[in-house]
């Protein structure tokens, strides 16, 4: 499961990474993506729409904790999807 959706997750993040100049990898810093406060909500919406999955995310619960890399974000999304 995890491997199947990692590539589409990265593709969706890439679409929102308007500030990114280098190629997107798991090691890319989230701070370098150029995304803003609502990008996460938009990314989750698109993950749900495109991958036909449910992401039980509540912006008030901060389920992502202290993330620093895109790999952290992808793992957190995968954990939510697998919940």
């Amino acid at each position: 499961m995890a491997d199947d959706i990692e590539k589409p997750l990265l593709d969706i993040i890439q679409e929102h990474a308007v500030g990114l100049t280098a190629p997107l990898t798991r090691e890319t810093q989230i701070a370098d993506l150029g995304i803003d406060s609502f990008s996460i909500v938009e990314i989750i919406y698109e993950v749900e729409e495109k991958l036909n999955v449910e992401v039980p995310f509540n912006a008030n619960e901060n389920p992502f904790g202290d993330m620093s890399t895109v790999g952290d974000l992808v793992d957190a999304l995968q954990n939510l999807i697998n919940k």
Binding site: V18, G34, D36, F38, V41, E42, I44, Y45
Partner: protein, 402 residues
Amino acid sequence: MTRNVVVTGYGVVSPIGAAAASFRDGLANGKCGIETDAFSIEELSITLPGAQVRDIDDRIDALGPALKRADRVSQMAVLAADEAIAHAGLEVDDETGARTACIIGSGIGGQGSFDRTYYDMLKKERRPHPLTILRVIPNAPASHVSIRHGLRGPSFAIASACASATHSIGVCADIIRGGSADVGLAGASEAVLTYGALEAWNAMRILADETCRPFSKNRNGLSIGEGAGVLVLEEEGHAKVRGASILARLSGFGMNADGKDMINPSMEGAAACMQAALQTVEINDPSAVYINAHGTGTFLNDPTETKAIRETFGAGADDLIVSSTKSMHGHLLGAAGGIEAIAAITALETGVVPPTINLDEPDPDCDLNYAPNEAVERRIDVAVSNSFAFGGMNAAAVFEKA
């Protein structure tokens, strides 16, 4: 000490010119931006006359990601505000930002996003996009302008239908006079040329069948337009200290309500509003007064407004020059008073009074000088911008030569 309010900049997005210079040329040349077209969402479509803003897609793309995903109503507000700030030569540093108000209204808000969301939910059984609320709230244009330029003084949206922009200008001036800000962005934006909104307007049976013909006997309704108009208002001393060019003085403002009817305008209400606006203005020569009329081209508004002007100016009414620029740019609803205030200021600046086009059949009930069909060269010292909204909410702003 009296704090006087002056205009130091303006920006326009309109169907007859998507920037101040092209708008001014459009007004002087009697350009008509009203065209019959199809307004559609997917398979749903309505065809009627409307005044669209064209060729701004590249400028919207250049606004960056936060605005690219905003509603058109916010995008046009930001384009107008950017131009206004540049025109005023205003450098918004931390100190100025804290003392700058941002009062940008809208009659409706993010109508296109409403349409898209309900279409998707009801026709496709899809969920709303997560940014829907942020796109549709009527304060989104004010918020985007405030965020983009770091304006941290009083900021909110005013919604009074077709008087929203004029109320915003007057209230912003009061905020500056009262000392809560030294500078203010004031105006409104509207973007309702969408299938859903136009069906609703069409249901009221007040839209023109071909084009808008204010004060003409063969008028048969209004034509909806879109766009934004934003002024930079400034306390006079503040403007002088920073060496800004003063384009006009905002020397009077009146607002009231008819308190009578949701649709039918009141002569008494409109006259009282204009009289309140002119209370602080000395008029020596009525022939140097230009009134940018509300002039919707509806059966009821035009003779009622004519009588209200006569009531306000008495014998001097015959010397005034009056025009409805809605004949060219359509009715921008909430944003109307924004671009019309700029049309009024332009007449002060250039001595060119914009015409009322499509005035081809005189109406005995509309018996003022409406600058029919061609711009008129005349020295203008005082310019009045009238806005009378559905729901009986009136506002009038008076500008004087700098």
